[in-house]
Symmetry: C2
Subunit: 348 residues, 2 copies
DNA sequence: ATGAAAGCGCTAACAG
DNA sequence: CTGTTAGCGCTTTCAT
């Protein structure tokens, strides 16, 4: 049974089916594609032949002649980041629902492999590209543009393609304002390299605005690669812990994403700083982990599934020419989820 | 510049390049594929033409004529599970290193969509399929087998394909023995539906053996869908908390994976059971999250990157006919990572 | 209602 | 060293 001769044979082609059913290959093609205008009798015979031969259409051949594929390229920053993992999953599901197959490219945040990935996708003649992260490298941009295939930026940005995203600036403002409202006066912004440029800038802007609106300042930018002991604070390399000690210490931190926030919490635990006793931390994304009782991270939640759904809808419409004209920009709302990583400032 | 006429044109073909460079298309093909036997002069002219036209080979056409693709189908159980996310990432990287592109299929643990996914992969004539999870559905199996494309099961199993995996049984034994050694006498096994069958069975077997070897028993099997309050305990529906209260309560739990273990820890926190004070928990996988100070889960670590590397090596060798003969079975070692979710049993 | 024929863009012999 | 030719498996007019 396992070693049946047919198992060894090549894939049956549409021609095999045709001769097996005693019809021409166009007829088989018509049956396969479910076109009308084929008599029930032949339809039946063809279907039988397909069954018996275990025929499976060759998508490659179809797509070659049709000059278009139903593959969607998906550029992901880092699959190991739970936010991206969730997004990837949603994107895959919504793509499948609209008849597209997803082809993923993990870029590891590196614009070099981003370029290589996009190149591969392009060679595969994907119907469009969904960027879940975009380094902003202008060469990638040109490559893609030049080939006139649609691109949608989900939860990241570029001026030359459709964007579906949250308003990062508003999110930054909300998160920071939450700390301000809790009485914090020295609030730092924490950035880790993995985050994509555009989002970082917008969240930072929101942070700065909230600070200014409250008459606080100056902004403090921490750039940290966990789990290092040192970080760049306003551009100068210092032990991270110094930010949270001394008279001028920060008591609140707005992190550019949950991974950063959780890493900081971890750091705090390690050096015996209390969260939220000594520092209050706000994250961004609301990854599943943030909801665990032991993490309990206050964060700005992005509606992931909604982002994915809209992103796929946008690019599918673009591909199918239901959407024309200049790049669109769809913003969805973020919400603040208050948990136990933030608390009112203890009066000294 | 952006609206240059050429941007609107179709993809240039190998023929365009040929005429632009004043050579035949085979010569272009030879240059593209880096074959020897092309004079430097022509090579240069061709390369120039490729540059100027922005030519990019059409992989579809190439693969159609070559009768094989360089796409690897990857069947993933649940991308949102950090273990799979990490594996997917590693698999993608190693695949790329060997010249393959990964095409992912998220099955959500559902054998229905697993089938659909495999079907899609097959239609795309993937060169092989990497199963990161396998429901064990025999129809899927037959579909794949029948088409004689190689399949490798990484960290999951089936008898009819190459397997690269840890020894789940040994892992189950180690995890359980760790609890036994800590003095625990009533040790339960915790299962959540997301886990793939084969691995569950093997880990369960290891658990039972360790129990028997220590003269303990009987085994207790908890089947739970977090965050429900109830669970199936040895097949009967009961409030989960009952397992951990009363005179005959379990003080140790071996969870079939980290996601389950962490969910249980979360449950324990919710109902005011102390970990490890009241229950010691051992997980399986060693997902990144397990290492956080606040989670500190004792667990059986799988060497993820090693699994991915070997898996890709195996299937690539199969595809490239460097590996022939009956299915191989590669086992890699697990290690116990002791953290703070386990402790010696408090004497009553 | 069905069939014949012309490619899609490329590779792979084989000639020159 | 370079060009010619014959398909890969399918869709798509256009005849019949």
């Amino acid at each position: 049974m396992i070693e049946s001769p047919s198992a060894t044979r090549r894939h049956p082609t549409i021609l095999d089916v045709a001769s097996h059913a005693g019809v021409s290959k166009s007829t088989v093609s018509n049956v396969v594609r479910g076109l009308p205008g084929v008599s029930e009798a032949t339809r039946g015979r063809v279907r039988l032949a397909i069954q018996e031969l275990g025929y499976r259409p060759n998508v490659l051949a179809r797509q070659l002649v049709q000059q278009r594929t139903s593959i969607l390229g998906v550029v992901v920053g880092d699959l190991a980041n739970p936010f991206f993992a969730e997004m990837a999953k949603s994107v895959e599901r919504h793509a499948a629902a609209r008849g597209y197959t997803a082809m993923f490219c993990n870029t590891e945040g590196d614009s070099q492999s981003e370029l290589a990935g996009v190149e591969t996708l392009l060679e595969h003649r994907v119907a469009g590209i969904v960027f879940l992260a975009f380094s902003g490298d202008s060469r990638t941009m040109r490559e893609t543009l030049q080939h006139q295939i649609p691109a949608v930026f989900v939860s990241c940005g570029a001026e030359w393609g459709d964007v579906v995203s949250v308003d990062d600036e508003v999110g930054g403002r909300m998160g920071t304002a939450h700390l301000v409202d809790a009485g914090h006066r020295r609030i730092a912004y924490l950035f880790i390299p993995e985050l994509e440029d555009q989002s970082d800038r917008a969240r930072w802007d929101g942070y700065c605005e909230a600070l200014k609106a409250a008459g606080l300042g100056p902004p403090v930018r921490i750039s940290w690669s966990p789990p290092a002991e040192h970080a760049l604070v306003d551009g100068v390399d210092r032990p991270l812990i110094e930010v949270f000690t001394g008279p001028d210490r920060a008591t609140g931190v707005f992190a550019s994403n949950d991974v950063a926030a959780i890493a900081l919490q971890e750091f705090a635990d390690r050096v015996d700083l209390r969260v939220p006793g000594d520092i209050s931390i706000v994250g961004f994304d609301d990854v599943p982990m943030a909801g665990l009782a032991r993490i309990a991270l206050t964060t700005i939640a992005q509606p992931r599934d909604e982002l994915a759904r809209l992103g796929i809808a946008t690019i599918a419409d673009r591909i199918e020419r239901k959407l024309k004209g200049p790049p669109t920009r769809t913003l969805v709302d973020v919400t603040l989820v208050a948990r136990r990583s933030t608390a009112p400032l203890r009066q000294a």
